[in-house]
Amino acid sequence: MSISTALRHFKEPTKEELTQIFFSLPPTSGVPKSDNSSDEDVEKMEINAVLSVGEAEDSYAGKLHIMPPYLAFSSLDRKSVRFTIPLSTIRRVERLNARAGVYALSLLTWHGMKIIVQLTSLRPTADLFCSLLRDALKVELQRGQMKLVKGFVKTCYSELLISETSNAGDNEHEDGSLITDEKSGSRQEVSYHGGLGLKFKFPGDPKKLREGSKIKLWTTYLKTHGRNLTLLRYPQCTRLVQVGLPNRLRGEMWETLSGSIYLRFANPGYYERLLEEHKGRTTTSTDDIEKDLHRSLPEYAGYQSEDGINALRRVLRAYSFMNPELGYCQAMNILAAAILIYMSEEQAFWLLEVLCGRLLPGYYAPSMHGTLLDQRVFESLVQRYLPIIHDHFQAVDVQLSVASLPWFLSLYINSMPMVFAFRIVDCFFCMGPKVLFQVGLAILKINGEQLLQIQDDGGFLNLMRDYFASLGESAHPSSSDPRARAITVFQELLLVSFREFSIITDEIILSERKRFRSEIIHSIESFARRGAVRNLRTLGRFNKEQAGLIYDALYKAMCIVPPPPATAPPPTLLTTADGHHEERPETRIGLRTFRYFLSEIATWARDDKIVMNGFQQRLDREVAEHEFIDRLFYFWDTGCHGALSFQDLVSGLDGVMFNDLMDNIEWFFNLHDKNKDGFLTKDEVLTLSETFLFIFRYEIGDAYLGAVSRFMTNAFEYGDALLPQPEQSKSKDSNTEPESPPPVSSNQPYLNLATFRMVVLAEEVLESFFETDLSESFKLEHLPEMDLPLANSGILGDLWSSIATDSNKKIFNMFTDEIGKTIGKHQARLPPSDIHPGLN
């Protein structure tokens, strides 16, 4: 059983991160850094600007951002126009002849495209921007990035397409796949990256797809608006994407639109190195990958050949090595197989990274929290925009997710015929994840009337299956207008998606995700909790509810003191006796987490102080550290793992919480009998006495102290008396000097259980300790709800959660304490013995 607290560490993206996401920039952290990428703190800045290129396009007002090593622009509406280009593609920056009050820059790209930006902010701001730009360009030059551009763009098909002398079309089939000259065997040397489609043909009928005219339109666009690293996205770009990308260009446009091209540009050779480093390695993920290789778009010719299978294997393996925490999730094979038809392995690898990391966050994580969250978001959007359907589904108890989950998880590739799914994928990369929601809503809306007839999940799925099978048919077969008849069901779907559901914006998705995040985390966590309790080998004498409380304490402890990450043990260790790999090894906690865990349960394992400082009254809890607690840890570690599992904790607690007087005495004795020979050594008697003192440390008065010291005296007296005395030499000293007992070697058996019991029972205080107090010092209580990563409501809640990291809270408390002291209101006291009011 594996327990994960990963969801607790979620943080809403900052404004800066949102900007990076918007411009499809690689995240500053998390993604592997290539050796030569600059990591120094770079200065970012944004400025108001008006963008124009040539005469072909209108000017657009918007914001220009410098985020080294990128320059980015977006129009004010954040959707008409935008670009993200690496600074290294800019060859010259000129300040244009200043007309009165106009401050304009001309940026010349490596291929001679001129981008004019007029900076409309105040003069000093513009000056500052220019100097930042100059510095950043210098850095790029020094890093040698400028020199890399030319080599890199050779890998892009668009360059071949637009070069004047191009004969790109000459060696292509109509669908864009390569014509191989069988006789001469002289496959034209291909320098650009392409996918399996080049060899195995692209899905779909090229005539129907109108490949030729699409390529022409794109060629024109790319000539005037830049391409690959330097693509400027004007409204026409989006329109062209919406009618479907041409096969040959599709892969490159996907990586350009999604921004994965920047990763490939910034990390040359990384993919190959990664594969090389992990050559021959097997992990749980690679095992799962093997199972699915032949089960990924099996109907496509490329995947009936070793070429395709090997490419798929390498890409999925490489990804799982780069991101072992995510590893491999079914459905990724479908995505990878799909994109590999249009792009090279390296391109696909980086696109997969962008998909799993940014575009579909948390979809494929072990908890699949992103999938569950977006399903919840989708449901709420249906409720808002298609309330009648939503109500009907509620009334007949149909779950939307039974159909929509695979839509999202496999970008519709698994649900629709490929040619249509790829068109949706085109739009998805161009316009972002909201497309998945827009299309989903449109599907429901279009099928609204029939949906109101369905009575159960099965009927819903059948209806959807029939609908997807009809996408290629006419939407209005009986119309008298031939133009209307020509409109396909699929075209209608896109129309409804982007016309009627253009109201679904990225902002809505983000805020809905925020709204439901804690709900989803709660349900995942309580599901995991139930599973953990159910999977216990034995509950001992606990009931399920009590075991749940133990789980809660464990979970809390893990949140606060995360156990060391279950470092993937060497493959041989992962393999269990019957030769299979565990998906996730059992979660075990180390000593530090255990101390925290115990402090939640055992009164003597914590030091509480009630603090009042005039602002707040709170309970400060420190985790006690004592040899006894460590001893307990190893005592419960019956499997000698050096760490404890949930089961160990349950069994351990079971061994003490239900004990009667005699059981407890024996338990306590065994706990201190390290070699389990039935005897305590003299040292162990001392340690045991110290344990008493530790447990009783907050008891007021000297009754306990007295009892313990009498216990020691008695224990040694009896112990000495019972000592075997065969050797004369030894007994001499001991008999003459009763004050100094005979020297007993440290590991010599000294006190047995019967004697120990007798000595204990001689002390009333100790007797009652073993009779009731010990067992009762373990308490399973409902823990107050832990703060989730985000607060749901209330100004105070927000304030508290905005400082709510643990260390911040400490600082806040210290701060108020200091003020409290200066105004004379600070006091700290011990809570009443063993009773701990639930203060916050």
């Binding site: 032949h294 039974v402 159960d456």
Partner: protein
């Protein structure tokens, strides 16, 4: 749609919701495909989320309409499973006889179903891919000699297994029949060894389940529920259903289903 067809013969037909669970690639989808269309596809795509299929089955004078939910097997899809097994009246938990770990996974599914699902759910345990552990001579239903196509898909079906053992297929077996049978008896499950590839044992699963299902009760609750299969009813009236079940069972057990 098929729904309306079965709806018109309402008084004689009964819908049974059945869910398939089990580790990834043990052959759940293949078992369903064999049952529903009597086909076998060597390379079935992994199931994403779940797939839904229906198949009718005759039992005496009754038509049973199975609504089959075929779920995804990978561990991380686990948290989605309750969505599919809620209200299910039957479950087939599949493991792969050539993979010991898959029986462990099956056991944990059974445990979960018994605690979390419909209290009267009928559970069958199916050890799939027995064709891999039968020498072709003794194989009952696949009397034909191994074709080349079969060889290829055997290799893909159990990656990592040494094909060197082909001479002695029994050595591929990791789960002895007796062991699984003993477990099934102890846990109160129906038990079968099956092969989606040859078809062996597949229909039997669904027939035996049909016999064990408390049909009268489902019918009663369905009628009272405007044609809805077991949804609310079966759970709420769990205790009564048990009593009905005990009486009805022997009568229904006579005929095999006619798929």
């Amino acid at each position: 749609m098929a729904d309306s067809a079965s709806g018109s013969a309402a008084d004689k037909s009964v819908q049974v919701k059945l869910v398939l669970l089990g580790e990834a690639a043990v052959g759940k989808s293949s078992v369903v495909l064999r049952f529903v269309s009597n086909e076998f596809q060597p390379n079935k795509e992994p199931t994403i989320g779940a797939a839904f299929l229906t198949q009718k089955c005759r039992l005496e004078d009754r038509i049973l309409r199975y609504e089959i939910w075929d779920t995804a097997g990978q561990e991380r899809f686990h948290s989605l499973a309750p969505m599919y097994y809620r209200n299910a009246q039957a479950a087939v938990v599949v493991y792969d006889v050539t993979k010991a770990s898959s029986l462990e996974k099956a056991k944990s599914w059974v445990k979960e179903l018994q605690r979390q699902a419909n209290p009267n759910i009928v559970i069958a345990l199916a050890g799939n891919k027995v064709d891999l552990v039968q020498s072709s001579a003794s194989s009952s239903s696949a009397a034909s000699p191994p074709e080349s196509e079969d060889e290829a898909d055997d290799a893909t079906a159990t990656p990592g297994e040494t094909p060197g053992a082909a001479g002695e297929p029994e050595s591929l077996r990791q789960v002895p029949r007796e062991e699984a049978q003993a477990y099934a008896t102890e846990a109160g499950l129906l038990f079968f060894e099956t092969s989606a590839k040859t078809g062996e044992g597949i229909v039997d699963i669904f027939t035996e389940i049909a016999k064990k299902i408390p049909i009268e009760h489902i019918l009663a609750s369905t009628r009272g529920n405007a044609g809805r299969p077991g949804a609310g009813g079966s759970r709420a009236e769990g205790t009564r259903q048990q009593a009905v079940n005990l009486e009805e069972d022997p009568n229904k057990a006579k005929d095999a289903c006619n798929c």
